[in-house]
Amino acid sequence: MASEALKKRKPKVIRNEGGTPEGKRGRGEGEQDSRVYNEEGELEGRDPKQDYQQYKDTCAALAKLMAEIQELKSNGAKDGSVEIEERRRQSCVHFMMLKKLNRLAHMRLKRGRDQTHETKQKVDVLHLQLQNLLYEVMHLQKEIGKCLEFKSQHEEIELVSTEDFFTEAPAEISRPHITKEDPHQLTLARLDWELEQRKRSLAQQYKTSLASKEKIEKGIEVKKEYLSSLLPGLQSIMQASLPLQEYLSMPFEHVQKQAEVAHHLPPPLYVLLVQANAYGQASDKNLSVFISGDVDEAKALSKPPEDSQDDESDSDLEEEQNTKRRRATLGGQLDDKRKEMLKRHPLSLCIDLKCKGLSLCIMIVLHLFFYFLMNLNILTVKTKVSPSSQLCGAVSAGELLNPETLLNCLYASDHGRETPNPANRYQFDKVGIATFADYISDLGHPYRWVQRLGGLQFPCDSPESAVTGSALSANHMESTMKLLRGRLQARLALHKQFISLEHSMIPVSAECQDLFPAKVLSRLARWTTITFQEFVELPMVQHVVKAGLAHETDLFFMAVLERGTARLQAAIVLNPRYPDATPLYSLSLLWKGERSGRTDDNLRAMESEVNVFRMELQGPRPGHQLLTNQLQRLCMCLDVYLETESQVCDGVEGPREFPREKMCLRTARGPNRLKPFKYNHPQGFFSHR
């Protein structure tokens, strides 16, 4: 708008509207103020209603003029005619009026808006002020509320009543002239008085208790001196009573000492001690229990072991991280870890079992040393038999009483080569132990019966028994002790028999003479012990190996029986549980060719005679005669075999090497023509089974 450009404002756009005389005039002259056509000022003077009316009138007039022009034109008047021009001029004027009115309307609107805006701003400012004040009021109100609610601790202290206070308290404290007026000061004074009183009484109490303490201490001193003077007297009495204890066989002191040390035993060994002692007292006078080892170390161990466990796991981590870098020190670390894992508790138990030896006057003692491996939570046992001088008589008996293998398979398949605790597997993996068997010679055997005696139950054992601890130990104590005794005696008996066998004599006891005829001509030529390796390579035992009846824990022997030119070889598998388990024989005969139990039905029958008929051959309980009776029966069967075998060469019955001496009813029977191997007593003839 041209008028805008003229006002004293920042000119935004100078509109170049040509043809408006006011504008030109305005820009051209310097005195713009006096010549300015101030439309805005004019605005105030005019009435909007009037303007509106004027607008309507102008519009109407314009419309009228247009209509007239239209009429004239349609009546055929020319464009340049005077009337049309006149009217055109008039309509132009009207147009200008309309424009002015439009301007005015816009200006009014703008002004109105500006005013509204200003007022609104003022209102906002006031509103904000109001809000601020309201907030402050609220805040102050809250503060006042808090102050009013404040409870001071002093209100919880019970104070004497005001009258008493005034009567009792000294003047410096009560200060009645101030306090009577001022309640604040009164309360303060009362508190002061309270403090004073308490101080006085407490001081009193302290003095009295101090005095009594002194008195009591003195009394204790006196008594202590008295007791220490008693001690030497008691010791001398104990010493004097020792011979009396022994005489009356009530070894109190020994038992007491043992009980003292026993407190430091690890739980499984403690259970074993208690149960063994109980069993010994109740049933077995030849059983005694001793504790050995370092008690101080055991005491030191009773500190909680969590630190060492943490260290272990930390150093494991370290180990894993360091493997790539430092291989040289790894071996040393592992070794130490292994040693730590396999550590034994410093205390161990020794149980001694006494048995009658080879000759009745000498007692053989079976020493059992029980150790507890703390980190693996298993018990192990080492054995010793004494006196060892009694035990060297037979060369082949070397293995019989070998302490390493003596207790193998006390219960069936309890080889004691692996740890019975399945958790140990994980522990071993951490430190690279492949198998426990490598450490057995050092640490002892972890037999299952040892764990049971210590009350330790591991999942692989028979699942029926849910007992653990003392009950488990008690259940097995008697049977295990009996088995141990039985084992030792069986081995001693075998040892004695082996001495005879090595001198080519089969010792047959008086009770078993009836099993055999009076005259047996085949004799034992050789008796030797062989290893598992040598046994497995023999051709005649392959069926035994295939049936899984020969194990590394068994003992193997070779017996050679001879008569004339015939040689019978017997390979024997002796299960450690002899005589509860029957020795197994496999035969091979060298006589005019080689035959074995596999190729010759009669040799097989002979094998069956000694292997299957244990009930006949075991003799009186506990069956120590089994092996020797088996050997004697073999000799007898060999006799029958050789004497009943037809000897034909070149189509003619030749001279018999072995004349028929045994009485047989029939020499052949059945489809495989078996010989009569069964001896009948007292008639003395041989028959078939």
């Binding site: 049936a547 029939r666 052949a668 029977r669 059945g670 489809p671 003839f685 028959s687």
Partner: protein
Amino acid sequence: GSRVRLCVVKMGPVEVQFSLLHMSVYSQSFSPCGRFLAAGNNYGEISVFSLSAALSPDASEASQKPILTFTAHDGPVFSLLSTDSHLLSAGNGEISAWSWVELIKRVGVEHLKIDVSLRTSLEIPEINTMVLSLKDNSLFVGGGDNNIHMMDLETGVFKSTLQGHSDYIHCLAVREREGELLSGAEDGAVRIWDSRTGRSVHCVEIYKYEECSRPQFGKWIGCLATDSDWMLCGGGPSLSLWHLRSLSPTSVFPILGCQRQAAFYQDLILSVGEGGSLNHCLLSGEVKAQIPCTPPCLNTLALNGTEQRVLTLGGSSDQIDVFTNLSYRAFSLSF
């Protein structure tokens, strides 16, 4: 299978293993339907196996075990024979009859026991062989008393005794068409008997023939088989094929071990014995094949005649080999 043991002694697991190690199977017999096999051993036990279970496609180790085991006699069971309803088993001087229907139902209860009265003063002789003669419905029993006893199956009464051998009877064979019985014994003789008259018609001493005799093994005849005009016999002497009308050996088989059982099968001759192999022989005298078996010595050979054609072999072992194809062992049943 269930083990019904009549002995009082309780056997531990190792003792059971020992007894299995020393077991010998002496006799076999198929059930009338052919689906079951009964086997007798040296402990006097009889085990019944289900062949149909063992041969089925989903057979497991358990199906190779017996469905029933029971103690039938005091002594070894040297002979088993099936009629169309019963299993006959021979013990020391006695024959027991067991119903097949009951056995299949796993019930080992004796139906009948017949005492063959062979007892002497000191011991009871064994019965080694039993054969049926369907023509005159009789059972021939040969045993340790050197005689053959003939029993009528209807009445269960012993009608006659055929005497003639000087040592115990090993084997018997029946020639149905001619009504004759052949017997082989420990004395080395094969006798041909007329079953009606009960008299020995012929007596052939095999060991006297040079081509067959093997003096180093003995003269005893362990096995006999007959097929109309032909006879197989062997034992101490070599296994040989004889023409019965002319009573002369036509072929001698070069098999080393002493044979304990032989049979004609289609155009082959099958035999088993010491040496532990099943021998396939041709009538010409040639040994076509020798197939190794589990037991080192074989005692018994049995062929099934029904739809499941199998051959089973037993001997000095607790295992019984089963052949579905004659050329190789398929699997073994075990006691």
